[in-house]
């Protein structure tokens, strides 16, 4: 049996139809869409088609609201820095404690440059504190930026409502929807969302292509200036093959939206239930009733995530973890810490993220593989004795800091 890929929130496999559509744009259709001759013309039409395909997927009112970028991170940076440059009198940013580093690292950097960053916290299920959010909205705020769905737990933020709240306070609203686009129905024309980031490789398009949705009339300052590409809002020659690929991927994502929210969701639930039924001292993290259909994040107490991943990998199963070790940092995932998950569980979180390519037989195999791996590592754990944790484990084993 082949390897099982349950790390689709990290990246997805390109759909073969996406690759087929891209291929001619590496060879005979190599023209620059800006050129006047026929080489460029056809390519320009292909980019136009892709733009319309993306427009349909996210429900944008106009195709000119779709700006192609190189990745989700570029879209996030463009959005936030644009808001600051367009409104230099506003020196504050609102975001959450559980954002992707694409937003959090930028916010931290802006803080060093003198901006004030308000990081709104979440509860134990990863739900945003809307009262705290409302309290920070003011004419001093340049932009509120909140993820649509969390990459680690899949927890969904009520961004449409939050955009309304921002709008009422006269504040621009951006959402990093990298995990949500393609998995949740999105209809931007009927929202107050001013800007949205998406990333191709999360929805079976290639890496190296992203989109910034920019609602018409939103004040904007480009990150990259130069040529007139993307109506001067993102200079630089278009990555045509990837744009064409993203267009096809957007169309396929729309076709599979129901499948994602029924079949994929059912497989995800079976995986989670199957594991939790067999493994003691384990629990699902995040807002399990309001999360992406493809994501299950399970905390296995008293063992460490990287060790779990290595043993899973040996069985041909790919997943990811919020442990400190997998990232080379000193702290476990900031998302787990923000939810108040204790260290003994936060280091043992494993994220399983499915896709429309996941099969039932794969889910069954993972359900069988996980319990013995957890048991094996717990046998090595100083918090564990026999078939259960030590009584008062954190007192029974209290290492001196080293």
């Amino acid at each position: 049996m082949g390897p099982i890929y349950l790390d689709n929130n990290a990246t997805t496999q390109c759909d073969p139809r996406v690759i087929d559509a891209m291929m001619p744009y590496f060879t005979e259709q190599f023209g620059n869409p800006s050129s006047m001759h026929s080489f460029g013309n056809k390519v320009g039409l292909a980019v136009k088609k892709a733009r319309a395909q993306v427009q349909t997927l996210i429900g944008a009112e106009h195709d000119s609201e779709v700006i192609f970028t190189s990745c989700g991170t570029e879209s996030d940076s463009t959005a936030i820095l644009s808001a600051l440059r367009a409104q230099p009198e506003r020196k504050e940013i609102i975001t959450s404690t559980v954002e992707h580093p694409a937003v959090l690292s930028l916010a931290e950097h802006l803080e060093k440059e003198g901006y004030t960053v308000h990081r709104i916290g979440v509860d134990g299920q990863g739900r945003i504190d809307l009262d705290a959010y409302r309290a920070k909205l003011s004419p001093n705020v340049a932009i509120a930026s909140f993820m649509w769905a969390n990459n680690e737990t899949g927890t969904i933020f009520p961004v449409e409502r939050m955009a309304e709240m921002a709008h009422e306070a006269g504040v621009m609203f951006h959402t990093d929807a990298v995990q949500a686009v393609g998995k949740l129905p999105i209809d931007l024309r009927n929202t107050r969302i001013d800007m949205l980031s998406l990333s191709g490789h999360k929805l079976h398009a290639p890496k190296g292509i992203g989109v910034l949705y920019l609602k018409r009339s939103t004040r904007f300052r480009p990150l990259l200036r130069g040529g007139h590409q993307e109506r001067g809002r993102r200079a630089g020659t278009e990555n045509v093959p990837a744009i064409v690929g993203l267009g096809v991927a957007a169309e396929l994502a729309l076709e599979h939206m129901a499948f994602e929210n029924t079949t994929v969701k059912r497989m995800r639930d079976q995986l989670q239930d199957g594991i939790l039924a067999q493994v003691p001292n384990a629990f699902a993290t995040g807002d399990v009733d309001n999360r992406l259909p493809n994501t299950a994040n399970i905390a296995f107490e008293y063992i460490e995530g990287e060790a779990i991943l290595l043993l899973l990998n040996k069985e041909g199963i790919a997943a990811s973890s919020g442990s400190a070790c997998t990232s080379g940092s000193l702290e476990p995932s900031h998302v787990m810490r923000a939810m108040g998950i204790p260290y003994t569980a936060a280091h043992g979180t494993v994220r399983f993220s499915l896709s429309r390519h996941t099969r039932d037989c794969e889910i069954e195999r993972v359900i069988q593989a996980v319990p013995p791996i957890v048991a094996r590592l717990r046998k090595l754990s100083p918090y564990w004795a026999g078939d259960r944790p030590l009584a008062e484990p954190e007192k029974a084993f209290a290492p001196s800091y080293a």
Binding site: Y302, I303, E304, G305, E306, A307, L310, L311, N313, K314, S323, A324, C325, T326, G328, S329, L330, E331, P332, Y343, T344, H347, K379, L380, S381, P382, Y383, A385, E394, F397, A398, P399, S400, Y401, A402
Partner: protein, 296 residues
């Protein structure tokens, strides 16, 4: 995914001496649950000979933490306590054919567990003065706390100073922004501003003769290890911070040459307290310096 050696993987998949040890008379619990690595080392020590007759571990941690624990128990079994205390974290890493820089702290934790267990056996209390910060320099595995402390203790003011004193930033240079940031913070404490154009303070003084003797001594100490593997090393010349050596026998041109040079360089830097580059000369020498080799 980490680039673990086969030996690390093997000790992780098949850990030796795992689980509780009945009749243990020396126990060391170290680590930090916030960092995700903690270890209980259990020793059975024969009171007459002070020899470790058995050693077991229980570890909460990643693959290399478990492998380091397993390696440690294998290394110290049969040693006297004093012999065991001489085991360094580098010995543990070497036993495993090396650890990624981000993971060197796993071997440090092993050594500390050993010190704690021996102290426990002897009825002493072990305290740890070592504090670990976020990893800044990935080429040489230097963390923020060490850099900050070194800047304070020596009144350093430039990135070059920091490299000279700690090695941090002496490899790929990607961490220079991070080092500048730490410098800025510490300099602000003493009411100064970081000046990127400032000249480095001269390296700690060691006479030329003393320095070369030290280099010779250090290389002499490493020779038996290399000779055991059928190789050898000779000091050719010292040119500023470049130390020219020739590798012979099995070492020369072998795939492990870069690793060997990296190890020699590491020992020399430790011995001299300054950053030096070990440069191989001779037929099979690589064109690039060993700072790059260490990154590889």
């Amino acid at each position: 995914m980490w680039d673990y050696s086969e030996k690390v993987k093997e000790h992780f998949y098949n850990p030796r001496n795992a689980g509780p040890l009945d009749g243990a008379n020396g126990i060391g619990d170290v680590g930090s649950i916030s960092c995700g690595d903690a270890l209980r080392l259990m020793l059975k020590v024969d009171p007459d000979s002070e020899r470790i007759t058995d050693a077991h571990f229980q570890t909460f941690g990643c693959g290399s933490a478990i492998a380091s624990s397993s390696a440690l128990t294998e290394i110290i079994k049969g040693m006297t306590l004093d012999e065991a205390l001489a085991v360094s974290n580098q010995d543990i890493a070497d036993y495993l054919d090396g650890l990624p820089p981000e993971k060197m702290h796993c071997s440090v934790m092993g050594r500390e567990a050993l010190q704690a267990a021996v102290a426990n056996y002897r009825g002493e209390t072990w305290t740890d003065e070592h504090e670990e910060g976020a990893l800044v320099c990935k080429c040489f595995a230097i963390d923020a706390v060490l850099i900050e402390d070194t800047i304070r203790a020596n009144n350093l003011g430039t990135v070059e100073d920091v490299t000279n004193y700690t090695k941090a930033g002496g490899g790929c240079a990607a961490c220079h922004e991070g080092i500048e940031e730490i410098l800025g913070r510490v300099l602000a404490e003493r009411g100064e501003r970081f000046d990127p154009t400032a000249k480095a303070t001269p390296a700690p003084a060691m006479g030329n003769l003393a320095r070369i003797r030290k280099i010779e001594q250090t290389i002499e100490q490493m020779r038996p290890t290399l000779q055991r593997d059928g190789g050898d090393i000779d000091l050719i010349d010292v040119d500023g911070n470049r130390i020219l050596v020739s590798l012979k026998g099995a070492c020369s041109g072998c795939q492990m040459e870069a690793v060997t040079l990296g190890g020699v360089q590491q020992k020399l830097i430790e011995a001299l307290g300054e950053f030096v580059k070990v440069v191989p000369v001779g037929a099979h020498a690589h064109a690039h310096g060993s700072a790059c080799a260490t990154e590889a």
